[in-house]
């Protein structure tokens, strides 16, 4: 006989404080299991039900909800969300700036700077994956700066951007590798024409889910 969760009493029959605690731990466990969509669901509910004066609890929930939403929705906390929590603000606000600006070096520096705390909270690996979003945003900027609906962009342009924003001179092959990875992951729609040294991007929705 297999027991399952439908045999549990309805969550609403428990006290709200217990539900918040329960959902928080379910969320953290799903997070550590790398089941980020499940983690998001639990943590969002915990955050939503949390008493507005329970600063410390909300801070704990957000410590995991922020990296989770970065991966599931590519979303970042706004300054208004972080403002009431100085320690979270100090850690995550610089990150959000780097991610938006495609600042690869800044991203790596922030990751290194907060490493001890990230490892202690077990969010380091998750944040490390956020680097992809930074790179995607940088490539998107290159695309946008090329002008309206330009679909062919020299690989060298991407290379220059990566070298500039990472502070390291990267090889053309390396940039092609980054681009191919982005295409494989569905962050960019297009292909690389190696003979011509060009990236040929899709005429529509070249950077899916980012409005271009």
């Amino acid at each position: 006989l297999v027991a399952n969760t439908t045999e549990m009493p309805d969550l609403l029959s428990f006290r709200t404080s217990d539900v918040v605690t329960f959902k928080y731990y379910c969320g953290v466990i799903a997070f550590l299991d790398e089941d980020y969509f499940k983690a998001e669901e639990h943590l969002e509910m915990a955050y939503r039900l949390c008493h507005k004066d329970a600063q410390k609890n909300k801070e704990l929930i957000l410590t995991y909800l922020i990296p989770t939403k970065l991966l599931t929705r590519r979303q970042l906390p706004s300054a208004a969300l972080l403002e009431p929590y100085p320690s979270l603000e100090a850690v995550f606000l610089p990150f959000t700036k780097c991610i938006k600006g495609g600042d690869l070096r800044g991203y790596d520096e922030n990751l290194a700077k907060g490493e001890d705390w990230f490892v202690k909270k077990r969010i380091f690996l998750t944040l490390e994956r956020g680097r992809d979003i930074t790179l995607r945003n940088l490539f998107r900027k290159v695309y946008l700066s090329a002008g309206d609906s330009k679909t062919r962009i020299p690989v060298d342009h991407f290379r220059a951007a990566v070298s500039w924003k990472s502070g390291v001179d990267v090889e053309t092959e390396e940039v092609e590798c980054f681009l191919a990875n982005m295409m494989y992951k569905g962050y960019i729609k297009g292909y690389i024409s190696r003979e011509r040294g060009m990236v040929v991007l899709s005429g529509t929705n070249a950077f899916p889910d980012t409005g271009v």
Partner: protein, 52 residues
């Protein structure tokens, strides 16, 4: 402890959206394009040196 919904931070209750898109950077100005062109010149210059 028990509390009502109006004692929570329910987003949407007149609050601004607390989450924003990771690519939504308002700074995408001419600065980026300009600086990118500068960086391209550097790349081209390096190439020239290598070929020499």
């Amino acid at each position: 402890e028990e509390w009502e919904e109006d004692e929570t931070d329910v987003p949407g209750g007149g609050k601004p959206n607390l989450w924003e898109e990771s690519w939504d950077d308002d700074d995408l100005s001419e600065d980026f394009s300009k600086q990118l062109k500068e960086e391209l010149k550097k790349v081209d210059a390096q190439k020239g040196e290598m070929q020499r």
